[in-house]
């Protein structure tokens, strides 16, 4: 594989793309949203369970998409457990900046999460694919805004 492609399709991405974690529904989710990228047909059905203290207890997803979008969703579900909504928002900012080649400040962020996001940042050289990497996170934003158990955006 060329180095360029290796930069995009790192082992971590390929692994999560093939074997997505938390690929399920959550029965008692109190936030839910459907994310859709009409350009390529990627779809994500996202479930979030947030407790009364505002801590994300569980995140899971279902759907279909390219390796980048599935891996991004899978890694997102892993890195959000135990985080507050504010911490999730900071991670999204960091991911967005990393994937669009802007200066990204990692101070105060979970190191493990930062490593995972860095693995995704290879999309910065593929502008059309940035949406693949951010779809799950945009869906998270609408899910957290929604209060109903099931929302179709």
């Amino acid at each position: 594989m060329t180095d360029d492609l290796r930069d995009l399709y790192q082992d971590l991405i390929l692994d999560h793309g093939k074997r997505p974690r938390n690929f399920r529904a959550i029965d008692n989710a109190n936030h839910h949203a459907l994310g859709h990228n009409p350009l390529c047909g990627d779809k994500i059905d996202l479930f979030v369970a947030v407790d009364e203290a505002g801590i994300i207890q569980d995140v899971a997803f279902q759907g279909s998409g390219c390796a980048i979008s599935v891996a991004s969703a899978s890694m997102m579900t892993e890195m959000l457990k135990g985080k507050t909504e504010a911490e999730a928002a900071k991670l999204f900012d960091y991911l967005h900046h990393s994937c669009t080649g802007k200066p990204a400040d990692e101070t105060g962020l979970d190191e493990d999460a930062v490593d995972r996001i860095k693995a995704l940042a290879g999309v910065r050289d593929y502008p059309i694919r940035v949406k693949c990497a951010t779809l799950a996170w945009h869906t998270l934003q609408s899910a957290l805004k929604s209060k109903a158990k099931v929302s179709t955006e």
């Binding site: 594989m1 060329t2 360029d4 492609l5 995009l8 399709y9 390929l14 093939k18 350009l39 390529c40 047909g41 990627d42 779809k43 279909s64 998409g65 390219c66 390796a67 980048i68 593929y126 694919r129 693949c132």
Partner: protein
């Protein structure tokens, strides 16, 4: 045309494909006519296999447009000065070029639009709104491009027509009997693609038009993927409307064609109002020009029309029948090569196909395929191809699609195969 171009073999009227053509299809010669093909992408020679989305432009088209802007450009149908007359003559001459190319009977059956999408919207909004009533039925097929679905849905919202969908077979064919089964006394129009932009299926256009005509049903053929791959004779096909875009036929974008049978065009009200489509205007009453001018409001894409004329002359010089044969050979070669790839599935296996092969791969999403192929210099389309209902019918979110042109050579297919092996290496 430049010195390296194909041997000139001007086809007189009615002999478009009958010229004494060299037996070998000189693809390497024709490729020299397309400056863009000479480049490298990511260190590999460009293998441009997205002709279904848009075709590249031969130097003859580029030069004709440049020459026109440098020497002949002015607004048309307006000026009393010589330059405007020259521009008008050259512009109107393209109507004749298009007429000959599709063997229409009269030049005034050729309406210039901005593209096939506008052509279909024009028919829906003029013919449709004038002649259809609530409860009237339009039949389209399950494999249509959004451009031949949405304009009819908009008409449905406006006047309450009924839209019926003719099914396709598992191979991706449209069967005449399936369309026939949907016809009722309320059926007013059948709209369908000449060639499917996803599956490559060639539809039985003449047979569908024949059953439609027998029931006084109007036919509209979306010829976007037909005009660039096959010789088209609208009178032999027997259709009432035939639409296509210039940019898929090696011409510029921004120019499209609506062919309409003379008596039908004459019965249709104007589309957009504005300059150049009127006979006289007072604040009390405006009268309109005859077809085709009544459908061409405002300053049209003049230079693009000149470019389309040049594109048609270019492909006519080579001969559409020869282009079709060449692309058939490429299709057979590509189908064989792709079928041999483990985990690859060709989507659309109709016996009559043209110029297009869609496929999926086990474990690799079409978008990932597209990105990896791009790294190998191969340009293909990945996605739903503006045919979401068809994709849903196939149970697929997306496919990868390689589509061919007159300059496609076996080496392009070999580069595609090398790229797909790389996809397997990464995702296998």
């Amino acid at each position: 045309m430049n010195e390296s171009a194909s041997p000139v073999c001007y086809a007189a009227e009615g002999e478009m494909f009958a010229c004494a053509a060299p037996t070998r299809f000189a693809v390497d010669q024709y490729r020299k006519d397309f400056p863009i093909l000479a480049q490298s992408i990511n260190g590999h020679p460009l293998a441009y296999l997205d002709n279904g989305a848009s075709a590249q432009k031969p130097r003859m088209v580029i030069e004709a447009m440049t020459r026109f802007m440098e020497n002949d450009y002015a607004n048309i149908h307006r000026g009393v000065y010589q330059l405007s007359q020259k521009a008008t003559d050259k512009y109107e001459a393209v109507r004749g070029i298009v007429r000959r190319f599709i063997n229409a009977e009269y030049e005034d059956e050729i309406v210039f639009t901005h593209g096939a999408t506008e052509s279909i919207n024009l028919v829906a909004q003029t013919w449709g709104r004038k002649f259809l009533n609530s409860g009237d039925e339009i039949i389209i097929t399950a494999l249509e491009h959004h451009a031949n679905i949405v304009p009819w849905q908009m008409l449905r919202e406006q006047i309450g027509i009924v839209l019926k969908i003719a099914p396709i077979t598992p191979q991706g064919e449209v069967r005449v009997e399936d369309i026939k089964a949907l016809i009722t006394p309320r059926t007013k129009l059948i709209g369908f693609a000449h060639v499917s932009n996803v599956l490559g299926t060639i539809l039985p256009v003449a047979d569908i038009c024949a059953i439609a005509r027998a029931s006084n049903i109007v036919t509209l053929v979306d010829g976007c993927q037909g005009i660039c791959h096959l010789p088209v004779d609208v009178r032999a096909l027997g259709c009432d409307f035939y639409v296509f875009s210039g940019h898929k036929l090696y011409g510029p974008n921004g120019i499209g064609i609506l062919y309409g049978r003379r008596d039908i065009l004459a019965s249709m009200p104007p589309y957009q109002g504005g300059g150049d489509m009127i006979e006289s205007v007072t604040f009390e009453k405006t009268t309109y020009k005859e077809a085709p001018h009544r459908f061409e409001a405002g300053t049209p894409p003049i230079t693009e029309t000149i470019g389309l004329g040049a594109a048609i002359e270019y492909v006519s010089t080579i001969g559409m029948a020869r282009i079709a044969r060449h692309e058939d050979e490429i299709l057979v070669y590509a189908s064989e090569k792709l079928s041999a790839i483990d985990g690859l599935k060709i989507i659309g296996t109709a016996p009559h196909k043209s110029g297009i092969v869609s496929f999926t791969m086990k474990d690799a999403h079409p978008h990932d395929i597209g990105t990896i192929l791009d790294k190998c210099g191969v340009a293909i389309r990945a996605g739903h191809h503006c045919a979401q209902p068809l994709m849903e019918h196939l149970g697929l979110a997306a496919t990868a699609r390689a589509s061919f042109g007159l300059y496609t050579m076996r080496e392009d297919i070999d580069a595609l195969v090398v790229g797909l092996e790389k996809v397997r290496e990464i995702f296998g």
